[in-house]
Symmetry: C2
Subunit: 187 residues, 2 copies
C-alpha cells in the first residue's frame, strides 16, 4: 500500500500544519495524502499547459527557452493554464508573455497527453496580428521560421514537435482537425 511515497513537498497539511499520511479516503479507491489531524485531503491531479502555433506571412513563431527545463532549446510559446481564464485565453496570454506577441486565435490544433509529467498540453492555431514580437522574460530569443527553417533537432518538447508537424501537415492538406496523441518520455 505504499505505492505513493510521501514527497518532500507533501509533508504537512496546508490547512492545519499537522503531518500528512498516505491513506485511501472513505469512498475513494486510491492512496492520497491525507491529514493525520483534520479532514483535509491533499489531492494531486494533472495540470494543463496551453500554447499556440502562431503564423505570420507563412512563418511560425518560436521562442528559445531562457529557463529550465530545456534551456536554450526552441519551443512554441506555452505554459501552465491559470485560474480565471479559458484554454484559449491562456494560450494567448502565454504567447504575449513569452514572445511579446498579440495573436488572433483559431481552432484547437492538438491535445497531447504527457502522462509521465502529469500534464495535458493543448495547442491552438493562431495568426500574429501586427507582425510584432520579441523575447519575453522566459525567452532568450523569439523568431519567425519558415517551414524549411524549423530547427527540428532543437525543439524543447515532444508535444511542440507534434503540434508543429500537425499544423504544417494539415495546412498542406487543406484541413483543420483536432489531433490527439500521447507523448513519449524524452530520451
Amino acid at each position: 500500500m505504499t505505492e505513493k511515497p510521501l514527497g518532500a513537498d507533501q509533508q504537512h497539511c496546508p490547512k492545519c500544519a499537522a503531518n500528512l499520511k498516505m491513506e485511501i479516503p472513505v469512498g475513494d479507491n486510491r492512496l492520497r495524502y491525507v491529514c493525520s489531524a483534520c479532514d483535509y485531503i491533499f489531492y494531486e491531479n494533472p495540470t494543463l499547459v496551453v500554447g499556440a502555433v502562431t503564423e505570420y506571412e507563412g512563418r511560425i513563431l518560436l521562442c528559445k527557452r531562457a529557463i529550465e527545463p530545456r534551456h536554450g532549446l526552441w519551443t512554441l510559446p506555452a505554459g501552465f493554464m491559470e485560474l480565471g481564464e479559458t484554454l484559449a485565453e491562456g494560450a494567448a496570454r502565454e504567447t504575449l508573455e513569452e514572445a511579446c506577441a498579440n495573436i488572433e486565435l483559431g481552432s484547437m490544433l492538438a491535445i497531447v497527453d504527457v502522462v509521465h509529467a502529469g500534464q495535458v498540453h493543448v495547442f491552438f492555431r493562431a495568426k500574429l496580428i501586427d507582425g510584432a514580437y520579441a523575447a519575453g522574460d522566459e525567452s532568450l530569443e523569439a523568431e519567425l521560421f519558415s517551414p524549411a527553417e524549423i530547427p527540428w533537432d532543437e525543439i524543447a518538447f515532444p508535444s511542440c514537435t507534434i503540434a508543429l508537424q500537425q499544423y504544417l501537415q494539415q495546412k498542406a492538406a487543406g484541413i483543420e482537425t483536432l489531433h490527439t496523441e500521447r507523448a513519449e518520455r524524452i530520451r
Copy 2:
C-alpha cells in the same frame, strides 16, 4: 495587492509547515501563496474533468448523482482526471466507477471551459461494449435514455447538457467534430 485572499485550506506550507503569505514570486506576474520560511510556492491551477457520452442501441447512459454537488440530478459519467492516465483512460475509468460500464471510446466530442469553477471538462464519444451497467458508489441509479427521454431539466451540470446536445445534433447531421464552449455559471 490582496486580490487573492488566504483561504482556509491554504494556511501552511506543505513542505515545512511555516505560514503561507501572498506574494508575487520573482520572475512571476501574479500573486501566489508563498512560504514565509522556505522557497515553496503553492500553485493553484485549473483541474481536468473527463467523461463520456456512451451510447447503446440508440440510448445514452446517464447516472443519478448520489453525492454533492447536485445530488439527485442526472449526469454523464465524469470526474477528476488522475495522475498516471490519459484523458481517454480517465473517461473510461470514470464510466466504469460511476456506471459499472465497460466502454469503447470514440473521438473527442466537447471541451468546455468552466472558468468559474477552475475546471476544464473533456467529453468523448463512446459505445457500451456489452450492454451491462449499474449504479456505482457515487450514483443512485444508472440508466439508458432514448434521446426523447433525456431529463433535460434534471441534468446536473451545464457541461453535460452541452455534451449531450452536441452528441445528438452531430449524430443527426452525420458529423463528428470537436465542440468547444465556455460554460456559464449555474443559476
